[in-house]
Amino acid sequence: MRARSVADRSFSVFTWAMLGLLTAYISLIVIALFLRVNADSYGDTLLSGRALSTIRLSVICATIASVLALLFAVPIAYQLARKNFPGKNLIDTILDIPIILSPVALGTALLVILSSDAGRHFQDNLVSFTFATRGIILVQFSIVVALAIRSLKAVFEQIDRRYEEVAYFLGCNRWQTFLRISLPMARSGIIASFILAWARAVGEFGATITVAGAVSGKTETIPSAIYLGLAEVDIQETLVYVLLLVFVAISVLLGVRLLTAKRSV
């Protein structure tokens, strides 16, 4: 019995130690960032015209991309969660590609398509994406839609289909069942998905710089500004942008955690 008690205690010490080490490691990174930034740098960087334009562009693009992503992701995730059909696994896998693929690789693939004859014709006559704001939105959408589908599928799978069946027998058609039962029950999950998608879009860099570049005042997002800041060896400005992304990440994670804790299904 004594041997088991020692083993139990050592296991507990081991798991606590691992937890403590990793938390300390991440916290130290954030604290070190804070300590390296001069107090004046916050105002100098964040209130400059360039920074305001960069932040505004990041927020606008991420918001549009996330809204578009949800418009696609909600019905797709519902369909995947509720229906079994031939080829479902294949479709599921295809939809997951943007999550697994390196963002630079995805950006390169998009760039190649947009630079092809058909792509150029499309851009010349309809909508231009390369080195344009629309390119940032396209890239961010391509990445976060997959993420939104994945998280929303889990949300809809958690909602017992009995609710929909009961509503159907009470007189709802499929649209009414979806709009009056499934969607309201998934509400906090949808909001959490939106926040996650938005945060991922704000932080997107690899694919964005490949397709849209980092033209100051035109296609420069916060991650691009960090990259350019490093290239120009402007450490103070770079660190302010990094801390801004850290702030976004912490706010998002706390928000999502609160929402999912409140979720009733």
Binding site: D160, Y163, E165, V166, L170, G171, R180, P184, M185, S264
Partner: protein
């Protein structure tokens, strides 16, 4: 109202096989069976929520094929009730009425009537379903199902998670609902008491098949198989052989171990037929020596001894040994009868296995 003919359906590791059922208008029909018998699968198939591979299902005259039947007013209360968690109690109950665009005054009147019938008037103004007890949720689910005035109400194990007292209350409510609203009810349960209290007719289901359909008394006294007999708690099952059938006198004698049971003749049996004799514990009588014998208990009188005495909620179950019979005989007595007989363990008793309560299943 509901007609099922030759229904077959395949699921992952389960089959519904050759189901034939008919439920008439205004009937309260109970589908009874142990857990895993396929009751819910059959209900969902009849509702059109699951596909069947063969056979015909008609709900209110409409065929169910690859989806719920159109044009028939059906309500469904699933086992977990599926009370909408994002709505208030009032919104839950009136949901169907609002979807069907019921005239507001008529909806309010209907809501008040149902709330009064189900004793949930006090709950109507609660903004959330979180604080409801299981019994209250059950009533809310029933009210929600009934507000749309369905022709057929499907109830899947409606009282399974309730304690005895609340269950009894709701069973009485359901009787009231049926007589007040004249709705056809198709109910699923694994609980015998519930089935016998509620069912006009009962279908017994085992492993995807309907084994017997009949009125409660038929199932209790005329089980068609040992499986049904055992499931319906007819614990006294004795294997024997018919030794005499007197069609003129209308009697039959069956030898079981060292005793002979007399019973009304069964037409299809002849001498030498191997049978299982079944009698429910409630039909075995202990004869008081100080009282004259009633006409119905004069046959099949045996001397025995009480072996075990197990208290139950309403009385006692006694296990007795009859001289010459290897299988023990179980007797169910109310507290009142038990006290009246002044019995103790190991008491010697005189037992009567009522002739007309004996039932024979060919082996």
């Amino acid at each position: 109202m509901i007609r099922i003919r030759g229904l077959f359906a395949n699921f992952d590791s389960f089959r519904l096989e050759d189901i034939h059922l008919q439920v008439v208008e205004g009937e309260q029909f109970v589908l009874l069976g142990p857990s895993g018998a396929g009751k819910t699968l059959l209900t969902e198939t009849v509702l059109g929520l699951r596909r069947h591979s063969k056979g015909e299902i008609l709900l209110g005259g409409q065929a169910v094929r690859g989806g719920p039947a159109d044009g028939v007013s059906v309500s469904y209360v699933p086992q977990d009730l599926a009370i909408f968690p994002h709505m208030s109690i009032r919104d839950n109950i009136t949901f169907g009425a609002r979807v069907r665009r019921m005239e507001p005054a008529s909806m309010r009147r209907k809501l008040a009537e149902l709330a009064a019938l189900l004793d949930i008037t006090d709950l109507l103004d609660r903004p959330s379903t979180d604080t409801l007890s299981m019994g209250e949720k059950q009533r809310v689910a029933l009210a929600r199902a009934l507000i749309v005035e369905p022709r057929i109400l499907f109830l899947d194990e409606p009282f399974s998670s309730l304690d005895f007292y609340i269950r009894r209350q709701l069973i009485e409510k359901l009787h009231e609902i049926k007589s007040t609203l004249s709705v056809t009810i198709f109910q699923v349960t694994h609980d015998h008491e519930e089935a016998f209290m509620l069912g006009d007719r009962i279908a017994v289901m085992f492993e995807g098949r309907i084994t017997q359909v009949g009125q409660p008394w038929e199932l209790q006294r005329r089980p068609v198989s040992l499986e049904v007999a055992r499931f319906l708690l007819a614990q006294n099952i004795f294997e024997g052989e018919v030794v005499e059938v007197d069609q003129e006198a209308g009697t039959m004698r069956t030898r079981v171990d060292g005793v002979c049971l007399v019973s009304p003749a069964v037409e299809q049996f002849s001498r030498g037929q191997k049978v299982s004799a079944v009698i429910r514990p409630e039909e075995v009588h202990i004869i008081r020596p100080d009282r004259p014998l009633g006409a119905k208990v004069r046959e099949n009188l045996f001397d025995g001894r009480i072996d075990k005495r197990i208290p139950t909620s309403g009385g006692y179950v006694l296990t007795t040994r009859i001289e010459g019979l290897r299988t023990p005989v179980e007797i169910r007595l109310s507290n009142c009868a038990f006290d009246d007989l002044d019995l103790t363990s190991k008491s010697r008793v005189r037992l009567s296995l009522k002739a007309d309560a004996l039932w024979f299943i060919p082996r």
